[in-house]
């Protein structure tokens, strides 16, 4: 790249390319116990104004995906073994670090799960929000403080002028998450990654924060990547969804299809094991067993030891993510049958 680090990184973008495109991303962790394949072939595209939910249980690789896109993955032990992450057509992974740093916060920004541990406890929140402007826009303290107050108002923090000098511990959990959001949207990013933004919050506060995120997304026409394990939140806000299991995308489709016609046994099992607030259930159906250890993956499909539909084929051949319908892909050998609902459980799976 011939550009000097001071020129704006927004120059040589391909206008026809999608906002964010992840192709066959592979991330490993090299540990004493062996190589853990945290992400094993992740693919998705995100357009402006769109919300993509990445759903998965602990250890499925959803947070590693977010960290890799953001470029904050700890390396080592992390290692990007292959794939591309393209932001407006430009590959982020081959980009020079200082150039990539200029994109962070400006083009791609992130909200973390635990606001208390993500904020610096010994600095006032106004200073921490203003830091974005001082570092990226070379503003002086006074201007940055003014900007911080504006942002605090925008994310709905009451009495922003009085509270700009307060420290994180003086705010409630919901207010702290709003401060995190203010920092993330400070420089009007195109892509916002929210990693479990409401998991630590109470349900009434969760509703407030999700509503705020949605409003800001519409206002700025941002692409939003929502990382969550909560199928309820997904149903409420997402446009598209990628279901992850053991570092792989198991099913990828629009949010309506996933709930009405899941084409992967894992998605189906998850939806059926959910206690519902709007219906009295007798006994919950469960997904038996446990997710595999990432250092010791089963051969074939990673879900086969827990799958009620698994056959010998599943124990030897790894299914690829292939289409079952327009815009609906699933990594299961029996996706067509599942989609059509013509398959029955083959054997009792032992937990």
């Amino acid at each position: 790249m011939s550009q000097s680090p001071t020129t704006s990184p927004t120059q040589d973008y391909d206008p026809s390319a999608p906002l964010l495109e992840v192709k066959d991303l592979q991330v490993e962790f090299r540990t004493k116990a062996g190589v853990a394949q945290a992400i094993n072939g992740m693919n998705f595209t995100l357009n402006a104004g769109e919300t993509l939910a990445i759903l998965g249980e602990s250890g499925s690789g959803k947070s590693v995906t977010a960290q890799t896109i953001m470029g904050i993955l700890d390396m080592p032990p992390g290692h990007i073994a292959g794939g591309e992450i393209r932001y407006r057509g430009q590959d982020l992974l081959s980009m020079k670090p200082e150039r990539r740093r200029k994109l962070r916060g400006v083009s791609i920004s992130m909200i973390f799960q635990d606001a208390l541990s993500s904020l610096n406890p010994v600095l006032p929140v106004g200073w921490q929000i203003g830091e974005m402007f001082r570092v990226h826009h070379r503003m002086n303290r006074k201007q940055a403080r003014q900007k911080a107050i504006e942002l605090m108002k925008r994310v709905g923090i009451p009495a922003a002028e009085q509270r700009v000098g307060n420290y994180p511990h003086q705010f409630s959990g919901g207010m702290r998450q709003r401060i995190m959001i203010a920092m993330a949207i400070a420089l009007d990013p195109d892509v916002l990654i929210a990693d479990e933004p409401t998991t630590a919050l109470d349900v009434t506060v969760q509703a407030q924060v999700m509503r705020l995120l949605k409003e800001l997304q519409v206002e700025n026409n941002m692409g939003l990547i929502l990382i969550t394990h909560d199928l309820g939140v997904v149903a409420d806000v997402a446009d598209k969804i990628a279901v992850m299991y053991a570092g792989r995308v198991m099913e990828h489709t629009d949010v309506f299809s996933i709930y009405s016609t899941p084409a992967h046994p894992y998605t189906k099992g998850l939806l059926e094991s959910l206690p519902r607030i709007d219906a009295e259930g007798d006994r919950l159906s469960t997904v038996p067993g446990l997710p595999p250890t990432l250092t010791d993956m089963p051969p074939g499909c990673p879900f086969n030891p827990r799958c009620p539909y698994a056959t010998d084929l599943c124990r030897t051949d790894r299914p690829e993510l292939l289409p079952v319908a327009d815009g609906h892909t699933s990594a299961c050998h029996y996706r067509e049958e599942l989609y059509a609902g013509t398959i029955t459980a083959r054997e009792e799976v032992q937990s």
Partner: protein, 350 residues
């Protein structure tokens, strides 16, 4: 009755023995200020006048947001904290006045399962020792068959392999650890198990396994549960009756179909409407009540009704008069609200 769901079936536990009778329980924690001379400047009113009855074989769900006093209530019922006033009657005995050997005997019958399966098990004790520890503390409750064979039996009951008795907690997954915690809770044949957020640290697919196990154990041993959780869907699934707590008080108490089908307290309505439903087709069709602000400081709660600062129905009477938890017109459950009324739009039932 305007709602067909209320009072449809008779309460299956109406004639069962009252195991636990809690009356007007109060616990305030003093707030101290000053560096050299500590002065008490106020009190966090963690639990402030909570009453309920728990019957044999029944599950009472307690829901509420953080800081509402649900975990303090659990500690009071375990006598890990001493209440300031109020009474707890356990199988006809005044539980709070028990001392010494009598207290130890009664304590066996009320056990607890904690939220975090990672911190509630000693990492340096084997699973066998963890589950056998209750017998060390209560030597006269030692099983006749021998401790080790009883521990193996307990492991089997909670769905773990009895051969893993010598393993350590780190060799188990989160769901399996929670099963170990449940086995420890069962060891002394309790009548009541207090489950303090038992599944909130678990993944969805594992959560269902543990909830099914809890239900099976209840059937098998006739246990009564107090099930504390913030997840309203989980509480709905497992509970026979539900108490909604707000700032140390019960806002609404009723059978699960009353609370979820025809909530009458504005706070319950707001809570229910805030729970996202895993069904994208109802998006935008449900009435959403988004409460303003945060819960007030429990050290300085508002006068009158504690919910009035966030309530859209609040009037002058809410400021001056504390509403009593009682059955209000048009409902069958007990509600602590002057303006209790069903809201046609808010019901978690289809």
């Amino acid at each position: 009755m305007s709602n067909p769901n209320t009072g449809a079936q008779p309460d299956p536990f109406a004639d069962s023995e009252v195991v636990l009778d809690v009356n007007d329980l109060v616990k305030h924690f003093p707030v101290k200020e000053g560096i050299l001379v500590k002065r008490t400047t106020g009190a966090v009113q963690a639990v402030d006048g909570v009453s309920f009855k728990l019957r044999k074989g029944e599950t009472l769900g307690i829901v509420g947001e953080s800081g509402c006093g649900k975990s303090t209530l659990a500690k009071l019922l375990m006598r890990l904290e001493e209440p300031d006033s109020g009474s707890v009657t356990f199988r006809g005995e005044d539980f709070l006045s028990l001392r010494g050997a009598a207290l130890r005997r009664a304590r066996r019958k009320i056990q607890i399962i904690f939220q975090d399966p990672y911190t509630s098990l000693n990492p340096r004790m084997s699973v066998g020792d963890i589950i056998a520890e209750p017998f060390t503390l209560h030597p006269d409750a030692k099983p006749a068959q021998g401790v080790r064979s009883r521990v193996k039996e307990l492991l089997d009951v909670v769905g773990l392999n009895p051969d893993h008795i010598n393993r350590y907690p780190h060799q188990f997954s989160g769901g399996q650890r929670q099963r170990i915690g449940i086995a420890r809770g069962l060891a002394l044949n309790p009548d009541v198990i207090i489950c303090d957020e038992p599944v909130s640290a678990l993944d969805v697919s594992v959560q269902a396994q543990v909830m099914n196990l809890l239900e099976d154990l209840q059937q098998e041993f006739g246990l009564s549960y107090i099930f504390i959780a913030h997840d309203l869907s989980v509480v709905r699934h497992i509970s026979d009756r539900v108490a909604v707590m707000y700032l140390g008080r019960i806002a609404e108490l009723g059978r699960d179909h009353e609370i979820y089908g025809a909530p009458a307290h504005p706070y319950t309505q707001a809570l229910l409407s805030a729970v996202p439903v895993p069904d994208p087709t109802v998006r935008g069709q449900r009435q959403e009540i988004v409460l303003k602000g945060d819960p007030p400081n429990p050290a300085n709660p508002p006068s009158g009704c504690r919910f009035r600062t966030r309530c859209w129905k609040a009037t002058d009477i809410c400021e001056t008069e504390d509403p009593v938890l009682e059955v209000r017109a048009g409902t069958t459950q007990r509600t602590a609200c002057h303006h209790a009324a069903q809201n046609e739009d808010v019901s978690a039932l289809d």
